[in-house]
């Protein structure tokens, strides 16, 4: 079963604008990761944030984590057409099976 949900399910913005996606999860985590997927192909790792971190940056990406609310957000600044893809959050549990549990994904479309 899915761990949680991404919000929104779909997002269309103009090139150059910022895109924000949210992720909620249900159980205690060791870390939370964001992945990108183009057209049903393999997933590309974007960024990992650990449970004791609150914010992390990588290039045009900014991720926040609020463990008290069991939520995370991914901000992509100055979007480009090449950012068009599906974005998934995935959580690694604090205890139990060593596995990633993925959310339902946000489909991002950048309009040139």
């Amino acid at each position: 079963s899915q761990q949680g949900e991404e919000d929104p399910q779909a997002l269309s913005i103009q090139e150059g604008e910022n895109a924000t996606m949210n992720c909620s999860y249900k159980t205690s985590i060791n870390n939370l990761q964001w992945y990108r997927q183009n057209s049903g192909r393999g997933l590309v790792h974007l960024i990992l944030i650990r449970s004791n971190e609150r914010e992390k940056h990588s290039g045009r990406l900014r991720v926040t984590l609020d463990t008290s609310k069991k939520s995370s957000s991914l901000l992509i600044t100055a979007s480009r057409a090449a950012d068009t893809a599906s974005y998934f959050c995935a959580t690694a549990p604090l205890l139990g099976n060593e596995k990633l549990t993925f959310g339902t994904g946000t489909r991002l479309t950048i309009i040139p």
Partner: protein, 113 residues
Amino acid sequence: DAGVTQSPTHLIKTRGQHVTLRCSPISGHKSVSWYQQVLGQGPQFIFQYYEKEERGRGNFPDRFSARQFPNYSSELNVNALLLGDSALYLCASSWGQRIDTQYFGPGTRLTVL
């Protein structure tokens, strides 16, 4: 360095048949995980293998099995295929057993008719 490779890229089978999917991890990576992604959903965890032993299993029936070889490559086997097994099967590798950054292969698209 080569990334994670999977074969075949696409596969068409009929109900009741058996299928074997293959994965080669990044050189030096000892952990391989398998995921199933049904169209429109996020990937779901099937198995993790580390140092040739099963370390985790998701909520999938016994028709699904896997193994890891001494060179750390892996096979996923699915018996008695059902229409609902149609999906993209993803393999991911990482260095250790702990689930940090996963490196995914391009996937195998399985269609069951």
